[in-house]
């Protein structure tokens, strides 16, 4: 069992966490000017990098979203931080 660090609760079992989305996936605006291709890219596309990745995860038990920087090959976790503007 791997343990992931929640910036609010500390290290917890991986089963308490849920992957949400790769970080930096900004919703394109304004809606009227967004092409179908750009909207599809926002909804569906992912870089799926091999190596370092920065992702938004949800800690199911405390309900907070946060940023996790980790390695997709080794599974090592490098950093865990609250979303911008959220105090830990």
């Amino acid at each position: 069992m791997q343990r992931f660090p929640c910036p609010f609760c500390g290290p917890r079992d991986e089963t308490e966490f849920h992957f949400a989305v790769e970080a930096g996936h900004a919703r394109p605006e304004p809606a009227g000017a967004v092409s179908d291709a750009a909207w599809a890219a926002y909804l569906y596309e992912a870089a799926s990098p091999k190596g370092t990745t920065r992702e938004v995860w949800l800690h199911l038990t405390c309900g907070e979203y946060f940023l996790l920087t980790r390695d997709t090959l080794t599974r090592a976790v490098n950093a865990s931080e609250p979303l911008p503007g959220v105090a830990p």
Partner: protein, 416 residues
């Protein structure tokens, strides 16, 4: 190519098995090819075979980073089936099953297809309704599928848990008689041998490090064994596809996850079908060697590492024991994982992508093995003709921008 037959086996046996030739030639890269395929798994090798066989294109290379069939083709649970919901999916997966049915004879290589039937077992009235809906859809789409009642289903899986306190009571389910298993390694080796015999170069330990593009069209690939020129590039690299397409600035609707599989120690024949329990999400079949081969859902942590995590091992094994308490006596022999490329709508991506001349066949997620002959057939069609086959057209990348998703995750009731 040395033909395999009962007579050749007898002859070689009498000669001490000293006269067997390599099944396929180990090739080194030539400077240029009419078509290059990245990925020496089942899909890539089948593509090369059908390019040569059906389209007469033999200046073809298959580039494999590791060894033939060492990726997901050699890591799956060997199930072949076409019990899907949407017409597009049934057409695709049944093309694969029909090609599998004639494959051993066609390529003179025994892929050990065993059409022992598959039961998707339901445990609630709601699940039975879903099963009825899928069985109806299969029949409308022209595929053998039927709703099976509790008594008939129980007779198919005699060791299933029928205890009064069983959590998941067998109510029946969907039966597909043409479903079954095939020897996964044999599929890779058989296609490799058949493609090699038609002149295809199969190049192992050759990693693609770049894709060359000029004026919007592919001109070749950079590899660890040097540059190779080609104007037609097929990519059948499963979980490695997003990294390859990043070379040409194409981002795909794919997340990579680990999918685990398990085998028990071998025992005498006790399970004559492929079984998926909707209640536990665990599926199981018995190999010809007697091992119970089983698996379940994805590890839910995106990864490129070919190993599984413990919580899923526990959930899958617990699911197996809920289905078959008697299997609790068995020891686990092996456990492993492959990196699967899961698309947002759980359907594959087949078609042109990025620069002109580049075609992808990926996104099979947790179900690529069963689709190998169709994936190869359709990618070969794309590479040879430059346009879609009718069966691959709905699976084009454009379906995301056009809102025509083929959402089999919900439609077929699978656990992932």
């Amino acid at each position: 190519m040395q033909r395999y037959s009962a007579l050749s086996l007898l002859r070689q046996g009498l000669a001490g098995h000293k006269g067997w030739q390599s099944a396929w030639s180990k090739a080194t890269p030539k400077p240029a090819y009419d078509a290059v395929i990245i990925g020496g798994g089942g899909h890539g090798l089948a593509t090369a075979y059908y390019l040569a066989k059906a389209h007469g294109l033999t200046r073809v290379a298959v580039l494999e980073r590791g060894w033939i069939g060492g990726g997901n083709t050699g890591r799956n649970t060997t199930v072949c089936r076409s019990n899907y919901f949407f017409p597009e999916s049934v057409a695709l997966y049944d093309l694969a099953l029909r090609l599998y049915e004639g494959l051993s004879r066609e390529i003179n290589y025994n892929v050990m297809l065993s059409q022992r039937g598959m039961l998707i077992a339901a445990h609630t009235p709601a699940q039975m309704e879903i099963c009825n809906r899928i069985a109806n859809a299969m029949q409308i789409n022209g595929v053998d599928g039927k709703l099976m009642g509790a008594a008939e289903a129980a007779a198919k899986v005699p060791l299933a848990n029928t205890a009064p306190d069983a959590r998941y009571k067998l109510m029946g389910g969907i039966w597909q008689g043409r479903a079954g298993t095939a020897r996964h390694d044999a599929v890779a080796w058989g296609y490799a041998r058949a493609a090699s015999a038609l002149g295809v170069d199969i190049i192992e330990t050759c990693e693609v490090t770049g894709i060359d593009v000029q004026d919007g069209a592919v001109t070749g690939v950079e590899t660890t064994l040097g540059p190779i020129r080609t104007e037609r590039l097929g990519i059948a690299a499963a979980g490695a596809t997003p990294g390859l397409m990043a070379h040409v600035d194409v981002t795909l609707p794919i997340h990579d996850y680990a999918l685990q599989a398990f085998v028990s120690e071998p025992v005498k024949p006790c399970l004559d079908t492929v079984l998926l329990y909707l209640g536990t999400g665990t599926y199981v079949s018995q190999s010809d060697k007697g091992e119970l081969v089983f698996g379940g859902g994805l590890d839910r942590v995106p990864t490129h590492g070919q190993r599984g995590n413990l919580p899923v091992q526990e959930a899958v094994t617990a699911g197996l024991l809920e289905m078959f308490p008697a299997f609790g006596q068995l020891r686990l022999l092996r456990q492993w994982a492959g990196v699967v490329d899961v698309v947002s709508d759980s359907s594959p991506l087949i078609g042109p992508a990025g620069p002109e001349g580049v075609f992808i066949n990926c996104g099979w997620g947790t179900g690529g093995f069963k689709a190998i002959p169709a994936g190869g057939w359709l990618l070969a069609h794309l590479l040879a003709k430059g346009t879609h086959h009718e069966i691959s057209r709905p699976f084009d990348l454009r379906r995301f921008a056009e809102g025509r998703l083929i959402d089999e995750a919900a439609g077929s009731g699978i656990a992932h």
